[in-house]
Amino acid sequence: MNPMNYIYLSCILFSLGAAGVLLRRNAIVVFMCIELMLNAANLAFVTFSRMNGTLDGQIVAFFTMVVAACEVVVGLAIIVTIYRSRRSASVDDARLLRL
């Protein structure tokens, strides 16, 4: 199978993630969409690794998973704190900081 198809798939996943970040209102869902974007990048890395015949891309994919896990820790900590103080995780409610 033509490996380019996986690149197309990763572009679609990345765009879906980006659209989700811009359109969804719940901070957790926004965050999940960002994870989708990171995984799209992973798929692209692994596919390019196959196309180039070097292993660098696969190693990057492992590191991305670790970094994504760290981001989950920090991100959920922030989102849970803000939910506990406002009883809402909507990004539209977070609008105290204005001109």
Binding site: M37, F45, G75, S85
Partner: protein
Amino acid sequence: MNAPNIEYGILGPILIVLAAALIGVLIEAFVSRRYRYILQTGTAFAAVALAFLQLVLIRQTSSKAAVSSMSIDGVTIVLQGSVLIFGFLGLLLIAERGFQSFTAQAAAIPGSNEEQKALVSGLQQTEVFPLTLFAISGAMLFPAANDLLTLFVSLEVLSLPLYLMAGLSQRRRLLSQEAALKYFLLGAFSSAFFLFGSAFIYGQAGSTTFDGIRKSIVESGGSDQFLLVGLALLTVGLLFKVSAAPFHAWTPDVYQGSPTPVTAFMAAVTKVAAFGAAIRIYYFAVGGLVWSWRPILIAISIVTMAIGTVIAIAQKDIKRVLAYSAIAHSGFLLTGIIALSKDGLNATLIYLFTYGFTTIGTFAIVTLVRDSGGEVSDLNRWAGLGKRSPLVAGTFTLFLLGLAGIPLTSGFVGKFAIFTAAYKSGNISVVVAGVLASAIAAFFYIRIIVMMYFSDPVEDGTSVVIPSAMTVATIAICAVATLVMGIYPQPVISAINSLAFFAG
């Protein structure tokens, strides 16, 4: 098969700071509360000082390290030195007596009994010190990174602690938490772009190292679509970190909501780190694609300067004014990258070095003006400060003139160097825009000065607190640096000129 060789000596400065950060985590977990503050501050200051000492010892190094995933050369040394100095000054502000800027327990709900109890009984958590050290080590790695993977990991090591630190404010905690949420979501969003861009660059170049990318551009003649798409996405991620328009929207909110010492730290340190990484990418890795990226960066630079200066005029909050001023400075700094010459490289490093002192000093003064409810950041209430506290107002005036780039302050030296470099490289449009933007910017800096000296003081409980030795030291060092580098800049300029070379 040979085991890879790790050059502990030249990686020493980064490793010392990282080790101290880990020790800080252990202190937070195991040491009794009474001794934590003293141990944490001791570890943090000692680590940064030791790392700086080690950096001075290795200052002549120019080589690749850790299987060529890092490049420890003159440019890295200058940038790491700047990060350590600004990190030290930031730590001094963070450690300020009584810990007035930081919440006792970040996990407690704002206004709850738990929070009150923690505050009254002094159950202060000190996790901000290890977080700061992690951020400093990330900021030291970021400009040293010599492949896309190290670049991505160090970007996250720099950013993740900052997201948390933005939410630690003691007063106005809802604002602070909101700043943390915005910073985190937008930061993670931009780092996804950064990573996706890296994937495409790797796809074309067949290697993640900057040397490999540079070689593949020379061989392919820089005509490949993947490389251009990848570079565009990578640029989005980087420009977000340096808060260039149109990726600047987080800056005012995060600067305003974060505890002011954290704002001071992040304004200086992330700017140095992110521009350091940008220099290595645009000068070294993709220098061969200059005809593709230069027009885009010129447009972004002009838009950034315009947005930063024009919107700053309408702001009523001192921290937001300074945030928009930071955006405008990003625009000025981009002209140094656009120049793509040895002059441009020197000028960018000089600008970053001088800018860091001035901006930390400015935010240090903001921490001093308070009323019973905490810091006063409403500009109108700063009116008449010059009559009540001439010394504080005078120092603040010096910093504002430095930010505006008035001669005899360090800001002028940086601006002059960077605009000269851009002019010599033939990019006249960006120089004209830069000079115009500086003129508009001078207007709102001087408006604040006029307000402090020529309006009557408002009697609403706003006063200048007497700071402890730490804040005094920070302000004094920043003021002296701003003044001395403005009057007698030659030693710094020639030191940076002689150091700033890339390892081939």
